[in-house]
């Protein structure tokens, strides 16, 4: 027969100070764990959710990121007329030659800057990215040195708000609008016309070309044609593959989070162990009485483990709740795959909260098991005699 849960709850209330202190150390551990994981998850999700499965990014063979790639104008002419490329409403091939440059912009309120991606797009570039929509102002017009800035970049960097003027390449560019790209990697970019940008930076080649395939089978054929064309020396990959490859940038944050959480967990579960050993020592006589009343060793073991898990839950639950405050907070770091700023939100997902609670319970079980084992194996007679 199991010992009623009420027994544990009352005990925790009687020793409320110790319970709270132990729970608080578990609270801190869970909080740090969930928030760091939310950081890694936010970065990962912003890259993972980017990309249409039928879009193909065509880059130079051997280049790791768009910024180090180059595609000549002659190659663009070859690519445009490959079979399997979808047509736009006007009946043109659905293709966008793009130019990527990184410029150093100061973060708001800081003198130190960070590299921000400026993407020059062809006329069909925006329609290749259905997640794109304007927030304020209007779309840029070509030939007028106009740019549109993603909302997250506009909030985080100087001179990027609607109506501001940005200085790069040969002069000033006017911000005529802000846009939102639905939490994808494009939310960390500044967009303008590809030929304006190329002209200003004296580039006679594009960085990449993006095309839309008609369907999945056309996609495979299209990729084959490009990889096998010895004139081109180009590498096709779907937009989704390209961004998924970058999610490894979240790995160091994850590893760091695990390392910190693991070390903090050692401290917290040892504290729980101390508390539970003290609890067992103080209640030796009670344990003896319970045994005499007919409660088995197993139910005593279970009861003490449950008590420890309760302490952990008292810490873990608010830990998870407080971590929700971080959800949605925008932050930014440098994506080392592309060497440019990536802005993203902390993402506290239900799965992450569950992990946090499981983590707390595991600390509780580790902290409670040995003291509970000891309680369950107390000699009845000497336990009853103890003071």
């Amino acid at each position: 027969m199991a010992i009623p849960l009420k027994y544990n709850l009352r005990n925790l209330r009687v020793r409320w100070m110790t319970t709270l202190m132990t729970a608080a150390s578990i609270f801190l551990t869970v909080l740090v764990f969930v928030v760091l994981m939310a950081l890694a998850q936010g970065l990962q999700l912003s890259l993972k959710t980017t990309g249409q499965s039928l879009n193909v990014i065509i880059m130079r063979e051997g280049s790791q990121s768009e910024a180090t790639s180059s595609v000549t104008r002659e190659s663009l002419q070859v690519i445009k007329y490959l079979a399997g490329i979808a047509k736009t409403d006007k009946g043109e091939p659905w293709v966008s030659p793009e130019l990527i440059v990184l410029i150093n912009l100061p973060r708001r309120g800081q003198t130190q800057g960070s590299n921000v991606t400026i993407r020059g797009l062809g006329p069909d570039g925006p329609s290749l990215r259905p997640e794109f929509k304007m927030v304020e102002g209007r779309f840029f017009r070509s030939g007028l040195r106009e740019v549109i800035v993603s909302k997250r970049i506009a909030e985080r960097f100087e001179n990027c708000a609607l109506g501001d003027r940005l200085k790069f390449a040969k002069g000033y560019w006017t911000v005529v609008g802000t846009f939102d790209a639905g939490g994808t990697a494009y939310d960390s970019e500044i967009w303008t016309d590809t030929n304006d940008l190329g002209g200003d930076f004296d580039r006679d080649v594009y960085s990449t070309v993006m095309v839309r395939a008609v369907d999945a089978s056309a996609l495979a054929r299209l990729k084959d044609q490009i990889s096998n064309d010895r004139r081109l020396h180009l590498k096709p990959q779907t937009e989704r593959e390209y961004y998924e490859n970058q999610t490894r940038s979240a790995a160091p944050i994850k590893a760091l989070g695990m390392f910190i959480a693991a070390l903090m967990a050692v401290g917290a579960s040892f504290a729980a162990m101390n508390t539970m050993y003290a609890a067992v020592a103080r209640r030796t006589k009670e344990i003896g009485t319970l045994r005499v009343l007919g409660f088995s060793r197993g139910s005593i073991l279970l009861s003490f483990v449950i008590e420890s898990v309760l302490i952990a839950a008292v810490g873990g639950l608010p830990g998870c709740l407080v971590s929700l405050l971080a959800n949605g907070v925008t932050t930014g770091t440098t994506n080392f795959a592309t060497f440019s700023e990536v802005a993203f939100n902390f993402r506290v997902t239900p799965g992450l909260l569950l992990n946090g609670m499981v983590f707390a319970v595991v600390m509780g079980v580790i902290g409670g098991f040995f003291p509970a084992w000891r309680a369950a194996h107390e000699n009845i007679v000497s336990a009853l005699r103890s003071v």
């Binding site: 202190m21 801190l28 051997g62 150093n104 070390l263 401290g267 504290a271 101390n274 508390t275 770091t333």
Partner: protein, 378 residues
């Protein structure tokens, strides 16, 4: 008195062991965080006496400078030596063998590095003489078992060329994990675009550094290629700032860890003081002063935290020294080492936590009414 403290401490060995080890683990974490925090805040501080300056395009490091800038920079008063520096980004045989390889000016590179970096004169001559010659740092040579005269081909570079080089010298005492070859070789292989990603500049006296930087930047102001000149450590700082507010996150985690240590020690001390409330009353009845009792408990807490600190912080120092991250790391991890002030800081934190954690319960017990506390049964 101290014997009594020790005896009390060892009364519950398991508790001391558990608390001590959780303090040790937590302080290990805290000192690791402190090391990263200072490394990110003041990279290379104290390791660089005469500043090495770096000139790059103001608009961003991905844009190159014209090769003609080199000669102009050389004319700035206070500048001792200038070398172009092109990050080549190749690997040797296998992508796993990635190391820092640069195209530089062989005539001046060792004048620019100067500080501590030495190469035998005949090897330096060999490096200068041939266009395909290269030199490598001592650690690289040891790692890949290279010998002078070996042919080394650098593969996989974004520059799109694969230079076939001959090792002509080994240098040591400087950036020993780097590899240099001729800038002219690179420039020629690319079809003479005459562009240079960055310049390294050596100035004569530390106090000249900021004046020289200003003079170089002024010289190119309002040209097509404006420059930004700063010391290598300032550049690293800039680089670190690109990571975002990592330092703020580390600081917050550090505070959480410190608070967790406080809770763990306070809990342990509260438990052991509560168990001994009656004993303390007996001691006071025997004539011990309040201050004695206080010292007894606080001393116990201090031994516990400082013991844990010794293991945790000492362990961190030992581990990070042994790993020698400052030797193998690059960029932001270039300067991960336990500095004396970090060491002192961590111990001060441990001391403060030990005092804080035991202060209140010890004070209450030491001051309480003797008759009442004698009756206390727990």
């Amino acid at each position: 008195m101290w014997r009594l403290v020790l005896k009390n401490l060892l009364r519950n060995k398991r508790r001391v062991l558990l608390t001590g080890s959780s303090v040790a683990v937590s302080l290990f974490l805290l000192s690791s965080l402190a090391i990263v925090y200072t490394a990110l805040g003041k990279p290379l501080e104290g390791t660089e006496t005469i500043p090495l300056m770096m000139v790059r395009r103001a608009i961003g490091i991905v844009f190159p400078l014209p090769a003609s800038h080199g000669a102009k920079i050389k004319t700035v008063p206070g500048v001792v030596a200038v070398t172009p520096l092109a990050w080549f980004g190749g690997y040797w045989v296998d992508p796993a063998n990635t190391f820092a390889n640069f195209a530089v000016d062989p005539e001046t590179i060792f004048n620019v590095l100067r500080e501590g970096s030495t190469i035998p004169p005949d090897q330096l001559e060999g490096f200068k003489r041939e266009r395909v010659a290269a030199v490598a740092g001592r650690r690289l040579v040891e790692k890949y078992h290279w010998k002078i005269g070996d042919r080394i081909t650098l593969l996989g570079s974004f520059w799109g060329i694969t230079p076939e080089l001959v090792l002509r010298g080994v240098f040591s005492g400087g950036p020993d994990d780097q590899f240099y070859f001729h800038y002219d070789y690179l420039n020629e292989a690319l079809g003479r675009p005459n562009i240079v990603p960055i310049y390294w500049v050596r100035v004569d006296r530390p106090e000249d550094a900021s004046r020289v930087a200003q003079a170089i930047d002024d010289m190119f102001r309002n040209t097509d290629a404006e420059t930004r000149t700063e010391s290598i450590s300032a550049f690293l700082l800039n680089f670190i700032s690109m990571l975002g507010n990592v330092r703020a996150i580390i600081l917050l985690i550090g505070i959480a860890v410190a608070f967790a240590i406080f809770l763990i020690v306070a809990n342990t001390m509260a438990m052991s003081i509560r168990e001994r409330t009656a004993e303390a009353a007996v001691l006071r009845a025997l004539g011990y002063q309040t201050s004695h009792i206080l010292a007894l408990f606080v001393g116990e807490s201090l031994i516990l935290t400082l013991g844990g600190a010794l293991v945790g912080i000492g362990g961190a120092k030992f581990l990070y020294d042994a790993l020698a991250l400052s030797q193998i790391g690059q960029f932001v991890f270039a300067d991960m080492r336990m500095r004396p002030e970090t060491l002192v800081f961590c111990f001060v934190v441990a001391l403060a936590l030990g005092l804080l954690a035991s202060g209140w319960p010890a004070y209450r017990t030491a001051r309480g009414n003797i008759a009442e506390t004698l009756r206390y049964t727990g």
